[in-house]
């Protein structure tokens, strides 16, 4: 069914504006949702600088960096998809959105492989696992617990994002939305970009930054 003007809005433009505004306010709430965990990370890093350094050094940089590239490229594709939809090229737009979803799933696949790698090393959340019998620093335990919490929560959001984009892909492909009303895809893309941005912050915190404490 073609996207139409809802009864309480004057025209499609007002409706699109309201939808975009609403999505940005909602993104603010998502940022604050994650910020609680980031605050825990900051607090605990200050309390356990060496444990966190060791944890960062132990993580496999390749997994994290490849995943960063995967998400960045996927964001590019979905942005291009919105652009094409505005020009009325629904088929091309649909392909681009589909690619974005595939990359999102690839991200989840790489993440799963990485988790399995951790489990094989004896690293489990909550400081359990044989890794922690050899490395007893409590800061290290907290590092990995936070790692699983934050990347896990992020992965759930990637999954939700894939779901949202799939629903929008259907709408693009069946021409329910198009050049006359591209805003649903635009706001879905904004959500995807947020998921990407959150990863951009997780990547340095868990894979890159060490304080080199002597």
């Amino acid at each position: 069914m073609r996207e139409h003007v809802a009864g309480h809005f004057e025209d499609i433009e007002k409706q699109a504006h309201a939808a975009r505004f609403g999505m940005w306010v909602f993104l603010g709430t998502e940022v604050l949702f994650f910020s609680g965990l980031f605050a825990l990370y900051i607090g605990y890093r200050i309390e356990h600088p060496r444990g966190f350094d060791v944890g960062v050094e132990h993580n496999t940089l390749v997994y994290g960096s490849v995943n960063t590239a995967v998400l960045l490229v996927s964001s590019y594709f979905v942005a291009l998809g919105v652009h094409e939809l505005r020009l009325g090229r629904n088929r091309l737009s649909a392909w681009l959105v589909g690619l974005t979803i595939l990359l999102g799933l690839a991200f989840l696949g790489i993440k799963t492989a990485e988790y399995l790698h951790h489990f094989a090393d004896g690293i489990y959340p909550g400081g359990t696992g044989r890794f922690f019998e050899e490395h007893t620093d409590p800061g290290l335990k907290m590092f990995f617990t936070l790692y699983f919490c934050m990347t896990g929560l992020h992965a759930i959001h990637v999954l939700v994002g894939c779901g949202v984009l799939s629903f929008l892909l259907y709408k693009v492909a069946t021409r329910s939305i198009g050049a006359w009303a591209p805003h649903p895809l635009a706001i879905g893309a904004i959500y995807w970009h947020l998921v990407d941005v959150i990863w951009i912050f997780l990547w340095p915190l868990f894979y890159l930054v060490t304080g080199h404490v002597r």
Binding site: H135, D137, R214
Partner: protein, 346 residues
């Protein structure tokens, strides 16, 4: 006047040195705010009476409060509130900082009792015995969940948190028995986690000190230091080893690896045992493991007492340590870089 207000407000006796000042501020804050509240309410009633509707359909003028009037009212109220803050914050700082000559008592809260360990090695459950007119410093932690040590008569309260040591203090100025309540919900018997402070006169306290003892806390600390492996890295005679010596450490300035200088007070000592990686002494390697969960609270107390006792008098060395190499402690600890040859003295 004070007694009258204590009665009207249902306040406990002012049994500590800062209780009276706190109550003075209490009277001032409650007095002025209640006066203000009464004024506001009477003003509203006045307007209700003076400006009641005279006939249906009566119209009114559009009135705005003048900006100068608004600024005056708000400025006045803000100044009053800031005065409350200034006095309250400075009293609070006084309550948070024990005097240097305060006598330490080590307190552990656990579900659902309070344990007290004294310098002479003795301990008690649920009764804290202190002399009148002497500042007492409580070094406190919890065994399990957060509790809160509250003595209404002293106007003092401090949460106790597992894995951390906090300090609180008071100086009792009346003899007698005063309630200790747990003031942070801690489970089913929270309301029964009660204890007493027994404030004795100086002669009675001296008599109490003479009761049969089981050994002084500092000596116990020495045994624990040996048993728990502290002495593999820390000496008692002033010679630097893998870690700084305990001799002359208490209350001395310490230079950290990041260049800052801190004082080795009780907080520093307990933190070094619980979170040794947070502050590394300059020119030492960060190889000390944490003792959180390993040392029992009375053991921490005993170790602190040991270090305090070595403040001015190191124990004479029985062995002169070589200037190089410690004993492979890094491998045993399983983390951190290998210590290099050639330690430098503190």
């Amino acid at each position: 006047m004070n007694d009258l207000l204590l009665k009207i407000l249902d306040l406990p006796p002012q049994a500590s040195t800062y209780a009276f000042d706190v109550d003075l501020l209490h009277y001032f804050v409650i007095g002025t705010t209640m006066l203000g509240a009464t004024f506001v309410f009477l003003l509203a009633l006045w307007f209700l009476f003076m400006h009641r509707r005279r006939f249906p359909g009566e119209t009114t003028q559009r009135l705005q409060t003048s900006v100068p009037a608004e600024i005056l009212i708000i400025g006045g109220i803000l100044s009053l509130f800031l005065l409350f803050w200034v006095v309250g914050a400075s009293e609070y700082a006084h309550i948070q900082h024990p005097p240097d000559d305060a006598m330490p008592v080590y307190v552990t809260g656990k579900q659902w009792m309070w344990k007290f360990a004294y310098q002479d090695g003795r301990s008690d459950i649920d009764v804290l015995t202190v002399p009148v007119h002497r500042p007492v410093k409580l070094v406190m932690t919890s065994r399990d969940v957060i509790h809160s040590f509250y003595v209404p008569a002293f106007r003092m309260k401090q949460d106790v948190v597992p894995g951390r040591y906090y300090t609180a203090w008071f100086e009792a100025q009346q003899t007698g028995e005063f309630d200790i309540d747990c003031a942070e919900y801690c489970g089913v018997s929270h309301s029964r986690m009660l204890a007493k402070v027994r404030v004795l006169s100086q002669p009675d306290y001296a008599r109490w000190l003479e009761r049969p003892q089981t050994g002084d806390l500092a000596a116990r600390g020495r045994d624990i230091a040996a048993k728990r492996g502290c002495l593999s890295c820390h000496t008692l005679d002033g010679q630097p080893h893998i870690g700084p010596s305990f001799a002359g450490l208490y209350d001395a300035p310490v230079r950290l690896s990041d260049g800052t200088i801190v004082t080795a007070d009780v907080a520093y000592l307990t933190r070094s045992m619980m979170d040794p990686q947070v502050q590394i002494v300059d020119s030492y390697k960060p190889v000390m493991p944490t003792y959180r969960g390993i040392l029992e609270e009375p053991e921490v107390a005993a170790l602190v007492e040991l270090i305090v006792s070595l403040k001015d008098q190191p124990i004479a060395p029985s062995v002169v340590l070589p200037r190089t190499q410690p004993l492979g402690s890094a491998q045993r600890l399983g983390e951190g870089p290998q210590p290099s040859a050639g330690e430098q003295p503190r």
